[in-house]
Structures are given as C-alpha cells and as structure tokens.
C-alpha cells in the first residue's frame, strides 16, 4: 500500500505567520510521530500519538507548536507565530504494533521562515 505522505513538500512563510503541516500515515498504523531535522543536525522528537491514548508532547519546543490527530489517522502539526529558528525539515513517521519501533517515514516538509 501507500507509504506515509506529507504535505506540502515545501513551505515558505514569513516570520510571524502560522503554518499547518499535514501527515497521512500508513493505513492501519496506530502510532504516529513528528520529528524535526535541522540542517546538519539529527532528528529531534516533537510529539507521539499512540491509538486513542493521550499524546506524548514532551518534545514540543514551545507552546507555539501543537499537533492533532483526527480519527486516529491524519495528523496536523501547527506552528503559530513562526520564527526563523523554526526553519527545518519536519518529518512524520508511523508504525504498527506488530513491528515495535520500526518506523516508516514520510518525505518531509521543508519549512523556510523568512
């Protein structure tokens, strides 16, 4: 079946604007993750959804960041009042309970804040 998809692939926005990034996980995957990858840096965990449980938001860098997952499927990461330091590639991944930890990543959204 289809892999993880993310949209948009690229987003350029002005400082102070809000942005929404979308992730469509693999069908049937109960876990969904958001990461951030800055140039020359590793992956920074942002938030984790598992089924109907309360999400693990421990990685969100500030209260400008939030995420929702509707109906246990599609997720939206929202960044309010964007700052230049928010520029990065935002990666979404999903995984199945049958393969713990084996995450399937989307192609990412490259966010540039000018």
């Amino acid at each position: 079946g289809a892999g993880v998809s993310q949209s948009p692939s690229n987003k350029v926005t002005e400082k102070g604007k809000d942005v929404e990034l979308r992730c469509d996980p693999i069908s049937g995957h109960t876990a969904l993750y958001w990461y951030r990858q800055s140039l020359g840096q590793g992956l920074e965990f942002l938030i984790y959804f598992q089924g109907n449980s309360a999400p693990d938001k421990s990685g969100l860098p500030s209260d400008r960041f939030s995420a929702e997952r509707t109906g246990g499927s599609v997720s939206t990461l929202t960044i309010q009042r964007t700052q230049q330091e928010d520029s990065a590639v935002y990666l979404c991944a999903s995984s199945s309970l049958r393969s713990p930890g084996e995450q399937y990543f989307g192609p990412g959204t490259r966010l540039t804040v000018t």
Partner: protein, 118 residues
C-alpha cells in the same frame, strides 16, 4: 534517560573496503536498537533492528549490526562498501519495556555521514 551516541560525524571509506559506523546507547532497561539510512534528498528508511535473540542482525543492502550488551554498542557494518552506500546513517534506541507508554518514540543519534569513494 535514554540516549544514543554516534561518535563520528563522518566516515570515509574506499569502495570495496569494509565499513563500520559506530553507535553506543544508554537505556534504563533492555533496548530495542535500530539503524536508519537517509539518502540525499530522500526520507529516512529503516535498515535493520535488534529486538532479541542473535546478537548479529542482518538488514537491507548487505548491512549488518552487532549488539554488544557489555559495551552497550550496536555498530553498523558492511563487508564491502559501495559508492551507492554514501548516505546519512542514524542509530536509534528505545527502552523495550516502555513500549506503548509515554516513551513510544525512538531516540535518534545525530547521524553519521558515510562517504564511499571509488
């Protein structure tokens, strides 16, 4: 706290030579260990994992990794490197007993850039 260390920012290897990309970890319990690869301008791909059993695990593209509990290491290896192996490699860990709980996410290392020259 869980952590992963990849001590080398970059590894340079000649094509045909063996390669090793190092990874050490720290978890409170028993680990699940993973390697992911990111080719230029592409998303991360799962390469291999250690869950339990044989300490030597084999993955895609001829790669393998050895779990060493005493050294808390999970080094990635390949007997004969290819130019097409050039990519960014990430080691990741999670505490096995926290699966499904608040630490369902993986902790990734900072990545090691592998460059294979002809």
């Amino acid at each position: 706290a869980q952590s992963v260390a990849q001590p080398e920012d970059q590894v340079n290897v000649a094509e045909g030579n063996p390669l090793t990309v190092k990874c050490t970890y720290s978890v409170s319990g028993n680990p699940y260990l993973f390697w992911y690869v990111q080719y230029p301008n592409r998303g991360l791909q799962f390469l291999l994992k250690y869950i339990t059993g044989d300490n030597l695990v084999k993955g895609s593209y001829g790669f393998e990794a050895e779990f060493n509990k005493s050294q808390t290491s999970f080094h990635l290896k390949k007997p004969s490197a290819l130019v097409s192996d050039s990519a960014l490699y990430f080691c990741a860990v999670r505490d096995r007993w926290n699966y499904g709980g608040s630490q369902g996410n993986l902790i990734f290392g900072k990545g090691t850039k592998l460059s294979v020259k002809p």
